[in-house]
Every structure is written in structure tokens, then in C-alpha cells.
Amino acid sequence: MRRLLNTLYVTMPDAYLACDGENVLVKVKDEIKFRVPVHNLESIICFGFAGASPKLMYLCCERGVALSFLTEYGKFMGRVTGGISGNVLLRRAQYRWADDPSISARLSKRFIAAKIVNSRALLHRVLRDHKEVVDQNSLEKALRWLAGTLDRLEKAPDGNVIRGIEGEAAQIYFSNFNQLVLSQKENFYMENRNRRPPTDNINALLSFLYTLLTHDVVAALESVGLDPQVGFLHRERSGRPSLALDVMEELRPHFADRLAVTLINRKQISADGFIVKENGAVIMEDETRKEVLTAWQKRKQEEITHPYLEEKIPLGLVPYVQALLLARHLRGDLEDYPPFFWK
């Protein structure tokens, strides 16, 4: 098997990339901060941008190292790759797989299984930590039911059944979502999950967090050379980042839902920060939005040990890791795609 190559993340906004022979150099104010042989790298991702020398770009192109530029907030701006890079092959593999119902179903199961496991973990946690204040019966029932959907998911024959199970699991999960909210209950109560427009505070908050997550996942997929619009579970629709939505499924509970609940429970946001419009849509005020964005950025810096790589990485890099693992699976370097499970 091919050796798994590494990715260099450049997060210092004033870093300048250069090369010396076969080495990639990261310089800050002409001082060399880091040096690594280019053959150890698969890609370089720069957040924020001071510059990269044309010679380095040349080296990256020659060696098939993808050099991506993102804004410091993680929005994808562009990528430098050489003519012989495997991107087109990777994308074609992705299209072929997306057209193959059995492969699509297999990958969809991975995404959804991880989503259900991660949602269960969230409910399980509140049941364990706050036994006395929650409705134990209802939570235990939901946990059992979700476990049942997992079993049925394993046996699901095709995409439609999988989407059905996904819907059911989401319904069970969101009908218990209010239990996760331990303070400000009267102001943060969700009837059901709704969007476009969200009609209550929780839904508004969740929608905003999902948007942030979509941005990150799209950027991650684009930086590894995948087409974020062609998905396996989500079908194509003009302008919809279907593959990003696929990969997001497994990330939603831990990245967005938990953060939403934490923000409410810690009273970092309050009902005052939400406005109800004439048509019933709920939107956030600028201050609240800033608070959420700050929390999101902070959250992404938290370190976790990635369950598959067994490496300590900041939470914000998980979308990149998942995109990379998916690309490796498509290239045939990995037997199967390991989704993100979090307890």
C-alpha cells in the first residue's frame, strides 16, 4: 500500500512559503520556522495568506502536492496543483461511484451510522450527567429506538431506505433535543426541526452553525480535490453541495448541536439576541452572531484525539481529515471510509 502522506497546515497569517532544494520552508519575517522535505507531503493548506514563492508552487506542481489557500476563517479561495495531479481521476472516480447505487448506499450507510452513533452519544451524555432533571423514560426510549435504526440501517438495501431511516433517526433525535437544554428552557424550545426560515431560537442557531460547518466541509473537500457538489446520499441539485452535506452528517452532532446546547446552557446567548420577523422567521442579532462565531472559532481550536488516526488534532481539522480519508478511499489507498465517531 502507498504510504499515507502528510498535510502541512500553515495557520500563522504572516507566514511565507518558500523552498530550498527539495524542502518546503515556512518563513516568518525571513526566519525559517519550519522545514520539511516535500516528498513527505501530500498537500499544504494555508489559512490566511502572506505569500508563497513561485519556485515553491513549481515544486508542489512537479511533485503533485496540492497547495490550497483559504481565508483565515476557512473559506476556500484557490488551489495550485500540477497538470499530472490525480484530481481528474479522483473526481471521475467520485462521479462513477456516485452513479453506482450499491457503492453510494455503502458510503451513505457509513455517514448515517456515524451520525446516529454521534447523536446517541449526545443524548446518552445528558442522561448520564443530569439524571435527576431529564425525562429518563423518554430518553431511554429514544436511545433504544436509535439503536434499532442502526440495526436496520446495516440491512438497508438501497438509498431510499437509508434516507428513510435517516429521517426517522433525525425525528427521534430532534424530538428529544429539548432535553439537552438545561437552562433558559422557556426561551429555547424547539417544536420540531425547521428551516428556511427557522421559526424558533434553537432552529435559528442550529441553521447558522450548520452553515458554518458547510463552509468548512466544502473547503475541506475542495482542498483535497473532491467535487463537493456530487454526493452519495444527497442527490445532486443545482447549487447544493451534496457531498459536503454527506460528510457533514457525521459531524453535525458533535460540531454544531453540542455547541448550540453549550451556548444556551452556559447562557452565553439569550433570547434577547434573536429577532422574530413578520413572517415568523427568527434571525440572530449581530451581537449574538458574533458570540456564536467566536465560540465556533474557539471550539475549532480544542484538541481531540482523532478516533481513526489516533493523532491529537484541533477539532477544526476534522473536516479536512475526513475529506482526506474519503479521497484516499476513492483512490484505493484505503479499504473503506472511516467516518468520524465521537463518544
Binding site: 504510504r3 499515507l4 502528510n6 498535510t7 502541512l8 497546515y9 500553515v10 495557520t11 500563522m12 507566514a15 530550498d20 532544494g21 527539495e22 524542502n23 515556512v26 520556522k33 519550519f34 522545514r35 520539511v36 522535505p37 516528498h39 513527505n40 507531503l41 493523532e311 491529537k312 488534532i313 484541533p314 481539522l317
Partner: protein, 96 residues
Amino acid sequence: MLVLITYDVNVTTDAGKRRLRRVAKQCVNYGQRVQNSVFECLLDPSQFAELKHRLEEIIDAETDSLRYYFLGNNWKNRVEHVGTKVTYDPEGVLMV
């Protein structure tokens, strides 16, 4: 696999000094300098063959020596570092 490469190049002559610089340069291209004439290179077998060939073209076997230590893929259990010159793990998360 991780290969540890060490060398001794005789620098009593100008030609020797030139060989030392050239050997060092090749090693830098392929790996990480962990001590003055000690390099850790994460290579696949073909890259190793390439590097080996290049180095052995440069040195003078009469006066210089090269040693390769093969630490394999499980090298993390076989390397311990104490003191200054902190190294990075080429297979770990690289973030600057």
C-alpha cells in the same frame, strides 16, 4: 520507513569539505537533520535507493563512511529524544 543516516567525511582536504557539503545537502533534501551529521529520513524503498545511490556517488570510500540504520515503519517505539533541537514527527500533524 524511517532510515537513520549518519556520515563521517574526511575534511582535511578541500575536496573533502566539498564532499561533506554535498552529502549534507542530499540528506537535507530527503529528511530531517536531527544532529550535526545525523539525519532521519522518512522514505519509501525507491526513495531510499535513490538517496543511497546519490550519496555513494559523492563520498570517497577510502576516507569517508556512511551508515544507514533501518528503523522500519514502527520507528516511533524505537526513538527517544532528550534535550535541545526538538524534532517534528513527519507522520504527525504538521502545523505551523
